[in-house]
């Protein structure tokens, strides 16, 4: 990927920044400046929450150039809670653990490295929602600092 191409898409790829249509309220991702619902201009940046669920997925064993080191890897369609359906790699999960409807959250990871010398492309992937440990010890009575 040419550095200029990675640079142009950095807001959407690093932090899942989409757009909101001021006309009908639709959330767009990727940003496309025109609302596909009502065809009006939609250029207001909108940070998506990064939460969603697996809509469908597949496992890639024959990767395109630049992705060899990560294969086999999982590519999924993610239904974001704000509505958009996007494709992304899954990470921190084994293929046999994935299921349709699995709750996932966005993380920013290395998408690919262009050998030892090229620019490193970072962007969104999704992982199973991090499990929080149940409860911590009960809080003792309030103490003033």
């Amino acid at each position: 990927m040419h550095p200029a191409r990675a640079w142009r898409g950095r807001s959407q790829r690093y932090r899942l920044e989409g757009e909101i249509c001021e006309g009908c309220g639709a959330r767009l991702f990727p940003p496309r400046d025109i609302c596909p619902e009502c065809q009006r201009p939609a250029r207001t940046p909108y940070p998506l929450s990064g939460r969603g669920e697996v809509y469908s997925y597949t496992v890639v064993y024959e990767p395109p150039a630049g992705y060899e080191e990560q294969a086999p890897y999982i590519v999924a369609l993610i239904k974001l809670e704000e509505g958009p359906l996007i494709s992304a790699m899954l990470t921190d999960v084994e293929p046999e653990e994935v299921y349709i409807g699995m709750p996932v959250e966005m993380v920013t990871r290395v998408l690919h490295r262009q050998g030892e010398r090229g620019v490193i492309a970072y962007g969104y992937k999704f992982r199973p929602v991090l499990r929080r440990m149940a409860t911590m010890p009960a809080q003792p009575a309030t103490v003033t600092a």
Binding site: V110, Y122, R131, A145
Partner: protein
């Protein structure tokens, strides 16, 4: 003023930690896997297991997640940060800041200082000292300091057992908004070549036993002693203490030398479970403490970086910690997320197998 009072650093405007966040990758390599390969399993490992980053992780991605956790706890928008500083000895680029990528990913750009810090294992606390200064001088209301590493260890070397991955991010801000107020800090630095890595070298070199007394212990103990003397505090005044953790024994011995009891260092002593996270080591221990500390608790945190030096901080926890700590995953949530791998998988993940797929 006490004789050494001016050795301690204290900003004109009181400063504290407004938010904190940790990150540990999910893979674990048991020490027995390393000894099985290199010493026939005869050597007892210095730590039980260490955290290993996945193929798509590096100091930048790990810093981004810790930074997002710190911002969530701080409850401030990222564009209020005036500095994003990343301390590490494993920055993915030799030239090109990790901090600009992190700042962009969390939404802190463009009105922000961004830079990478290097001081072996104390690069993170070095950034923290600077952030205290930036906020304490009123140049900024908020500054972020990160200590994060994916440490390198030569296959078969003693350091391979412990060279782990992880770290923490902190948002420094005005004391009145803080979940832990910084009472004072102190830095103690000498030119001591105990551990180093030359510019194009893949793995670091170290001075063996020389890394102990004249390096680790001297700097940690002096920094801690001088800070406590300047503040008029004693070990028994602290609920918790956390020291840089290259292995389990060193921080235990440093604590004992200074007069701390084992239970004071227990909560922050994570090295047996995640390895030495270098620039993140003392700082991620501090996050584990903040996850459990109560208002009024006092914490001593002392880093050590080879080369060599220590930064010591004395903190007092406030009420705000109770409400903020559950705005992001706790450090123990990341430690509990654990997938054990064998040496072959480790060799692949750490790119010790050369694929030569470069275009």
């Amino acid at each position: 003023m006490r004789a050494n009072g001016d050795r301690m650093m204290k900003p004109a405007r009181p400063v504290g930690i407004v938010g904190y966040g940790a990150y540990v990758p999910r893979y674990r390599l048991p020490g027995t896997e390393i000894s099985r390969l290199w010493t026939g399993g005869t050597e007892p490992p210095p730590v039980r297991e260490k955290a290993v980053p996945g193929l798509d992780e590096d100091v930048v991605t790990m810093s981004i997640e810790a930074a997002r956790n710190a911002l969530a706890r701080a409850g401030i928008p990222a564009n209020r940060l005036r500095a994003v500083w990343v301390g590490s000895e494993s920055h993915p680029y030799a030239v090109k800041p990790s901090a600009t990528i992190v700042a962009e990913a969390i939404g802190a750009t463009p009105y922000v200082q961004a830079g990478d810090w290097e001081f072996a294992c104390k690069a993170g606390t070095e950034a923290m000292q600077a952030a205290i200064g930036l906020v304490g001088s009123r140049m900024a209301d908020y500054a972020m300091a990160i200590g994060m590493d994916t440490a390198q260890g030569r296959p078969g070397d003693a350091l391979e057992y412990t060279a782990g991955a992880g770290g923490a991010a902190f948002v420094l801000g005005p004391a009145e908004e803080s979940l832990a107020i910084i009472e004072g800090s102190l830095s103690y630095v000498t030119d001591t070549p105990d551990f180093w890595r030359r510019a194009h070298a893949r793995y670091p070199e170290h001075g063996g036993r020389f890394t102990g007394e004249p390096a680790y212990f001297h700097h940690i103990v002096e920094a801690a002693r001088q800070l406590m003397e300047a503040l008029g505090t004693r070990p028994e005044d602290y609920t918790y203490a956390v020291f840089h953790q290259p292995n389990v024994k060193f921080p235990q011995k440093a604590a004992k030398t200074l007069g701390f009891r084992p239970e004071q260092i227990q909560t922050g002593l994570l090295v047996d479970e995640i390895g030495n996270t270098y620039a993140g080591s003392c700082l991620i221990g501090l996050t584990a403490i903040l996850d459990e500390a109560q208002p009024g608790d006092r914490i001593l945190a002392v880093s050590f970086g080879s080369g060599a030096g220590s930064d010591a901080f004395s903190l007092v926890v406030t009420e705000a910690v109770l409400e903020r700590r559950d705005r992001a995953p706790r450090t123990r949530d990341y430690i509990a997320r654990r997938v054990v791998i064998d040496y072959a998988t480790y060799a692949r993940y750490r790119k010790k197998i050369v694929l030569d797929t470069a275009a």
